[in-house]
Each structure stands twice: as structure tokens, then as C-alpha cells.
Symmetry: C3
Subunit: 409 residues, 3 copies
């Protein structure tokens, strides 16, 4: 990292300071709206991420505290992470506190390095069951040159108890293994597998049954620049006893070209109720995304996170060059429909019309220098979703545009 750092004279103590700003401007072109579909707001801006990083390291111990002033939407000061790390031997790091456990390929990538403004919806939904930002966790990772393994016991997210004090929290596990069977100067091949299990879900006072464990899976349409609130795919609160997810990862790089993809399946054990069908539910999704750096730089593989990084411009504008230019494309799918029959209500089958969302995106990035980035995204979003009665289409098809200005140290 290129963060400014103060090192004490004996070299054992280091304090570092960093910042990350992602400022988004964007809009949606909805055209003729489907009768039951929500209106997606036209234009707006948002501070997607606004983080200040404070690090304190003494020998093998590291303390991280990262306030967050961005959000979806912005407006609240919160905490991205606060944790203690210990590296007793070199490729092993044990961590306790609030942080983001490793989960899948797309979420192991730094948010500075994303190919698109937002994670694929299936990643966002799957990671937030037991992992995601600011999750109370204890665990560790082993990050060697050719393989990676991580495992975390996880609890609530930061602040979850402040809004729902009277109910007990969530506990789960998130694990990931990955390998890089082929790696040379020109190419990398990445294979991985991520799984998670929530064996105790957070209880919600009174919904849907008194103090029952519930789960809600939902996401925004892979775009939050102008409207951070509208979610078109949403299962609503499901009474559930447990949830498991699993998914394979594939990544490959050849010189300036990179391609990665994942599939994730989410298995929900619904809580049984007398007189109602409550079958187990299976949701799924996946994505494939590709990048080509026009100016010849590469997305280098980070062994510490088992994921690809962003290109570092060979000729930054501050040295008289044009920086790095990159083109991206993505196809992404999430299907939150299960055990439903069109025209029949979801209650009759015990399934859920959570909706099926497909997003096709094109992107262009400019990296004037190593710490600066401009991203332009154009997404075509297609949501097919029925109302709970199964009789009306409440999804829609629209385009979104987003321009991100990013500066990170």
C-alpha cells in the first residue's frame, strides 16, 4: 500500500493513514414503466464510499480502524471495520473484530479494483448472509503464493444490535479455498470454492412469527448512483431455520485481458408452520465479467486476497502520459424465484416470487495515476418478477448510467 506511514525509530512500530473516496453521479432511463413496477429515480449523486483508514502496527500485531462516511445512500457516519490482527507466521493472519471475511472471488477484490460500480447481485446477496462489510468475525486466512484458504466464525454486522436490541443475533461460518494452478508473467489461472452456513439467524421481534428467525434476500439493480433505495428483487422476510450457500470461482488472465466468473447457490431451510407448505428453497445466480486494458497494463493477481487487482498505469498523467485505459463487460443473473407457479399465489405453494434479475453491462475506466480512477458504466437491467398473488408483473426493464470518480491512498 502507498499510504503515508510514520515509522518509529526502532522500526517495530508503524502508524499509517489512508483514505478512499468514490463519488458517483448517474441516472436511469426507465422509458414506459410497467404498471406495477417502482419508479427508478432519474438522476442523482452519491458518496458510495468515503473511508479514512487508520492502522497501527507493532511487530506482528496490527490494529485497523476505518470510519465510513459514504453509503447507499450517503449521510450516515458508520464504521467499515475495526479489528485486531496477528500474524504468528508469515502467510497466516488471524483476525478478530469487525471486518469483511473473505467470500467469493468478486468480494475478495478490493472495492478500488472492481470492474463495475457494484458487485454482481448474487454476490451481494450471498455474501451478506454470513459475511459482508463490518461483520463481527473471528478467524484467519492462509495466503501462500499458489493457494489460499480462509475460515471465519461470524456474528452480527456492526450496529445490528442498535436497531434491534430485544432479539438475539446471528451466527454462522464462511470459508473459502482457492488455488492458482498456473501462473507466469503472461498468465494466471484461478480456481476457487466458497461456502457459508448460517446456523442461527437473527430473530426479528414479531415478524413473521413472534421472535422468529428470519432471512431477507434482496438487492438493488447493480446501480446505486442516482437511487440507492429501490430494490427490484426481494424475497421479503422468510421464516427460516438455517441457510447455506456454496459456489465455485473461476478467473483467468492473459496479458492485459482478464475474465472471471462465479456461480452461487443459496439453500434456505424454511421454518415449519402448521397448515402451510414450507418447502426448502433454492436461489441461485452467477456472473461472468471481462476486462481488457487498452494501454497494455495488467490486472496483477494479489496472493494475499486470491483475487485480481486493478491496473497500475505505466505512464501516469503526472509524468506526462495518458494513464491507463480499460474496457469491461459483464453478464450477471440472480434468480430469487423458487417453488412458485405463475398465476398462483406464493402462499399456496410455500414458495416465493423474489424475482429474476439479469444485468448486461459495459464499462470504461481511466486511471490517470495509480491512485485516481474514473469509471463509466452502462447497464441494461431486466427484472422479471410477479407480485405475491402471482398475477401481475412488477418487474421492469431499464438502462442505468453511472460515472464514478475515485481517489484512494
Amino acid at each position: 500500500s502507498n499510504r503515508p506511514t510514520i515509522t518509529a525509530l526502532d522500526g517495530r512500530f508503524r502508524a499509517s493513514l489512508g483514505a478512499q473516496i468514490q463519488y458517483d453521479i448517474g441516472g436511469a432511463l426507465q422509458g414506459d414503466r410497467t404498471a406495477g413496477a417502482p419508479r427508478v429515480n432519474e438522476f442523482g449523486q452519491n458518496l458510495r464510499r468515503g473511508r479514512l483508514f487508520f492502522g497501527f502496527q507493532y511487530d506482528d500485531f496490527l490494529l485497523n480502524v476505518t470510519p465510513e462516511f459514504g453509503g447507499s445512500p450517503d449521510g450516515t457516519a458508520t464504521l467499515y471495520e475495526a479489528n485486531l490482527n496477528w500474524s504468528p507466521v508469515k502467510p497466516l493472519q488471524l483476525t478478530v473484530g469487525y471486518y469483511k471475511p473473505y467470500f467469493g472471488l468478486a468480494d475478495s477484490m478490493s472495492s478500488n479494483d472492481f470492474l463495475f460500480l457494484e458487485r454482481p447481485s448474487i454476490m451481494e446477496v450471498a455474501r451478506n448472509i454470513t459475511a459482508g462489510d463490518g461483520r463481527a468475525s473471528v478467524g484467519g486466512r492462509w495466503a501462500a503464493s499458489r493457494w489460499f484458504a480462509s475460515g471465519y466464525l461470524t456474528g452480527d454486522s456492526y450496529g445490528a444490535s442498535s436497531t434491534n436490541q430485544t432479539t438475539s443475533g446471528q451466527t454462522g461460518f464462511a470459508g473459502r479455498v482457492a488455488g492458482r494452478p498456473y501462473a507466469d508473467a503472461d498468465a494466471d489461472l484461478h480456481l476457487g470454492l466458497t461456502g457459508s452456513y448460517a446456523f442461527d439467524l437473527r430473530r426479528q421481534a414479531g415478524t413473521p412469527t413472534a421472535e422468529g428467525q428470519t432471512l431477507r434476500l434482496r438487492d438493488r439493480p447493480e446501480w446505486r448512483a442516482g437511487d440507492a433505495s429501490t430494490r427490484l428483487v426481494d424475497t421479503g422476510a422468510l421464516a427460516a431455520d438455517g441457510v447455506a450457500t456454496w459456489g465455485p470461482e473461476l478467473g483467468l488472465r492473459y496479458r492485459s485481458f482478464m475474465l472471471q466468473g462465479e456461480y452461487h447457490q443459496i439453500n434456505v431451510q424454511q421454518a415449519q408452520a402448521t397448515g402451510s407448505p414450507r418447502p426448502d428453497l433454492t436461489f441461485q445466480g452467477g456472473y461472468v465479467e471481462a476486462s481488457y486494458v487498452l494501454t497494455g497494463e495488467t490486472r496483477r493477481y494479489s496472493t494475499s486476497s486470491a483475487a485480481f487487482g486493478r491496473p497500475s498505469p505505466a505512464r501516469p498523467v503526472t509524468d506526462g502520459g495518458w494513464g491507463a485505459w480499460e474496457m469491461m463487460a459483464r453478464w450477471s443473473l440472480i434468480d430469487l424465484d423458487d417453488k412458485v407457479t405463475r398465476g398462483r399465489s406464493q402462499a399456496s405453494t410455500g414458495g416465493v416470487y423474489g424475482g429474476r434479475q439479469e444485468v448486461v453491462g459495459l464499462g470504461l475506466s481511466w486511471y490517470p495515476t495509480n491512485y485516481l480512477r474514473f469509471m463509466l458504466d452502462w447497464n441494461i437491467v431486466n427484472v422479471d418478477r410477479r407480485n405475491a398473488a402471482g398475477t401481475q408483473q412488477i418487474g421492469d426493464r431499464f438502462h442505468t448510467l453511472g460515472l464514478r470518480t475515485q481517489m484512494a491512498f
Copy 2:
């Protein structure tokens, strides 16, 4: 700036850290209260500003992130600014993100340098239409030795979408030109002109008409130390299609004496409604304020902001001196009444009884050192305002006292 800074060895990278604290103690002497007037609380304290400044600069690029822990009243952590700056040539600075666009003479002055605890009400009201703190903006300024020009396209303020997600935001423009036709060691003459236009106002769900664009102009009585909530001038929510403001600026300094003043006019195009009169409304106000530094220092002119600064003590107490002492006086007026006739309801004419507030103030400042300041303010507030029916006086006349302790690096 005298902020502590870390500079990397090659001299191209700098990180800086600063802080600003304004802690106010004060009270109001209301005497016999007018029957319909609100009670102004007697005594209290408030952290008016509590900011931490983080700056990261690489060559011509600068990232600013400034958390804010003060407020009116204090109690919420928020963001004062987060933005990216680029200076391709020396006196030009382009900025994108959340920040305070240049608007008028009084608001271009640093809050550390204010003559009184609060801005004149007309400035507070006029600047917050399209500018003000933490405004999403893109634009730039050209700040030469003898003239200054700035222009910004502006959107919502930081956090506006978190409280009102379902409606679309505001867009506008704020511009300023200023010149210093005369400048020598003894004297400065400043002339300026500021204008703004909001061509799209923020929609308010359901008020006053469903999803209509509304505007609310109001301010506290130029005093927030003991009571940060009571606003005696207030137009209420006006259904409006657009708003324009314009105002001339005058400033002059002769040795230790400084005088500045502004006039601003606000023109509101009310939204038309069948059967009701909805004339265009004009509100206005202005102020004149003067300062005399008893110990002989001067309020030096800052060319980067085209505004006057605070005196820097020649003999600080830390070097055995008495610091700098300064006396101030101000007259300030805001008139939010328009198209109304006393005794008749505002609905009958389509005008508004927003109220007319006049404040006369005297102040004394002590600067023990360059980074420390104590301010004592005594204001006489006189509000003339009718209720919506036009039949009852709901304004009042009272005195306020405020003592600010300020430390800033």
C-alpha cells in the same frame, strides 16, 4: 495553512491533518414574551463546529475528507466535505464531490475568521438554496491576485437522500465574480457579485402537493449557542418551480479597520395552481459589518477566496504578549414577507408572512495566539412576523449573548 504535514521524500506526496473546534456557551434574554412568539431557551452550550481535516496531495491532485462532529445542535457525526481537486494551472482549481461552493463575501470567509458567531441570516438563507456546506458540486475557481471567478453546478447536500429516498434531487448553479481594484499595504477595496439559480428543486413526498417541488426559506436568529432549533423567520414550504438569487458585495480595509457588506435578493417562481393566486415572490436582505483591531494587526485579504481573513497576533501570549484584540459591530436584515397585506391571510393573496428580522450586534474578540480565539457577541434581535391569517404578531424582540472558544489548526 499551519497544519501538521507529512511529506514523502520525493516531495510529490503530502498528507496533512488538522482540526477545528468552536465551543459556544450562551443565553437569550427574552423579557416579556409576545403572546404568539416562541420561547427562546435561556442558557446552554453547543459544539458549533468540531472538524477533523484530512488532506492527501499528489502533484496537482488533492483529496479532502473532513468529518464534522459539531452541529446545530451538536450530537451527530456527519461529513463537512469530501472532494477531489485538480489544479492544472496555478490559479485554477477544479473540484468535484461534496464541498461548499463559493457564494458571497461572508460565506467565502473561513468560519474561523467570522466577525460574529453566525453568518447574517440573509447569507445563510441565500447560500443554502444552491450552495452551502457539503453540497454535491462540480466546478472551479480562478483566483488571481486582483480578481476572482468561480462557477459550480450543484446538486443535493450530503445525506439529503438518506432522509428522502423516494424523491428526486435538486440541481442548480452558483457563480461569483470579484475584483480588488485597489490594494496596497495599508488598504484593500473589494467589489463582487454573486448569483445562483435552482432550476430543479428537491421534491418533497406529498407536501404541499404530491411529489411537488418545494422550497423552504428560514433561519435562526443569528445565534445558536443556547438554542439551536428556534427559527423565527420561516416561509414554510413553498411550491415552487425555480429560484434565483443575486447580490453585490463590497469590502474595504484601511489598516486595522475593515468594513464589509452585501445585499441579496431571492426571486421565487411559485408553482401555479388552479383557483389560487400564486404570484412570483421576492425576498431580500443585507448586512453591514465592521471590525477594528485594537492592537494594530490587520485582517489580511485572501486572494484564494476573495475574502478577508482574521488578524494574526503580532505578540502572542505564548511569546509573552497580550495577543490581538478586536471590536466588531453589525447590522443585519432579512425580509421574508412578500405579497401580503396586514390583516388579510397570506392564502388570499398568494404571498407569505415569512417575517422580517433585524439584528444589531456588538462583538469583542481575543486572539491569544494564531490558532486560538475567544469571541463574545451581544445581539439585539427584532422579529416582526404575522401568523398565516395576518391577524397576530408572532415575532419578538430579545437579546442574545454568546461566548465562543475556538481552536483551529
Copy 3:
């Protein structure tokens, strides 16, 4: 302090940066619950403290700003302190702003040095009347080698006006004197006395009488790791005209053994009401706690705060040692019952069934290095409390466990 510090070349200016993280994991074993007692949640985690310290010093002037991201429960960014300090002569420090005035022995100790996870309940209740974290205060302390005196005029806590704008605030006084009549390398004897008086209580809009001054005394069961909301002792809102507290302090250290204890009495002058008895109320409590450092280090006495510190490990793990190990025990009592007769309602006598809580605790601490600490607490909580009618037991007896991971610079 061992915080990283930047010192300017002339040595007059210093900026420092620090952090404190206390991350708690814990649970309660409630067994068979008393019919009327609240359910204490079983297991959870919490960021008890998450602070970033920013200090700016120039000659004798010091500015402190400390954002806080922890809490009970965590989830809100707030301010621990923001204040200005001046030391005109060496052992005198004058302070204005938001901070924690010195109050009692247990609260003068740094939260990094606590013997148990939470303060004794009597200390938590007594300190929060006029003192406690982030209290608006002006005053000073004289901290010599053998004696200590402090006095503060205090107002509201940070943010109090943001939730209750329409009412006026609290004013009070908190003072403390302490001496160390015996002190050598092997032993310290500490004697002290703390008192406070709230001569104006915060008004609560409409409760219990319109805009009346009210006071509420309550605390959690000296454990917040898994459930930061449940308070088993609670007086409810008392209409009161004033409150006084006083309490003696005793502390002694012999080599690696330390023992300290306090008693505090709280005297409430109830507001009179026609037709209802409103006697003065007296609440009280105390604690005794002891520590023994198994590895031979000592809890050194801090003259600047007149309280004991934590042991500094002689052989830290980073130098191949085992760190420091410490055992602790505590007995703590708070009695918020007064002027009540079992079986009769509290309204009939004008007293209050606030409850009586006794906690017996055992603890173990490991300090791998000077900045790192792990604490394990086992508490047996016994609450005896009647409902307002005096007819039903609503207290309970249960065990709590808590494990704290602490890192502080």
C-alpha cells in the same frame, strides 16, 4: 503515552494520533427465569469502545478531539471528547469543552486499565448525574505528586440537545480531592473524596409533569457484551429539584497486589406535588475490588489522575516472554430502593422500587504486550426488585461471561 507523534522542528508544536479498541464477546446464563424478570439475551458481541484520538499541542495549549465508534450497543458514530486545555503552571490543567470530569476513583482510572469489563453500577449511576463521558464542562485539576484536587462546572452531555431541543439543560458541579499519604517503591496508599451537586436538572417535555425537571437512575448488570440494553435496576423518571452525591475513596497497593473501594450516596430532592407524599430519597452503593499480578508487575499509581494504572508486562510476547497475567475479584452493590414498604405500592409512600443489585465477579487478564490485553470476566448478578405495586419480584439471579480483546495506542 506511546502514541505516534509528529513534532515540528522548533519543538513547540506536536500532533499525535491514537486508537483504542475494546471488542467484547459474551453471554448470560439465566437458568429458570423469575416470572416478572426480563430475559437477558444469551450470547453476542459488541464494540464497547472504538476511539480515535487526535491531539494538537502548541506550547501550553492542547486540543483533543476523539471520535467514538463503539457504544452500548455499538452502531453510532459519536464524540467521546472535544476540548481545549491550558496548563499555565505545571501541575495545573484548565479544560473547557466536552470531556469526562474527574469523579471518584474507579472513573478516574483509564478504561484501558479497568479491573473488570464495566464500572461498578454505583459509579456508573453516580457519575452520570453531573459528570460522565462527553460532558460539557469548564474547570481544572491540580495534580501534584502527593495530592490531587479538581472541580468542574458541568452542563449537558454531547448530543443531549439533539434529541430534546425544546427543553433547557442541566447544570451542576463535580469535585474531587485525593491524597497519597504513603508512597514508596513497594506500596501506595490512596485516600479520596468525591462530591457532586446538580442544581438544575434537564427538563423533559411533558414527563412526568409538563416541562418538569426529571432524573432517572439506572444501570445494566455490569455486563454489556451480549446484551447492552437490559437494565434491571431503574428508578424510572423522578420529578426532582436537585441531586447531590458524595463518596469516600480508598486504594492501596503492596507490590503486585492492589485493592480499591468506594462508597457513594445519592440524595434526591423530589419535586413537591399537591396530595402526594414526595419525601427526599437516598440511594447508595459501593464496591471493593482487588487485583494480583501473577507475573510480578505492579499497577503503578498515576499522579495525573490520582488512580492506579494497568501493569506493563516486563517480558512481552514480542520479546519472547509470556506477557503479564493478572487475577481480579470484585464485590459491588447498588441500592436504588428507598422509602418503600414491601407489599405496598411506591405511590403510597412516595418512594421508589428501583431495585438492589449485587454483583460478585472474578476476572483474569493477559497482557501479551503493553498495548494489548485480553480480559475474561465471570460475574454472578443478583437483583432484588419489586414492581411499582410492591407485590411482585421482577429481579433475577444469573451469571454472565465476557471476553474482551483490547488494543490501545
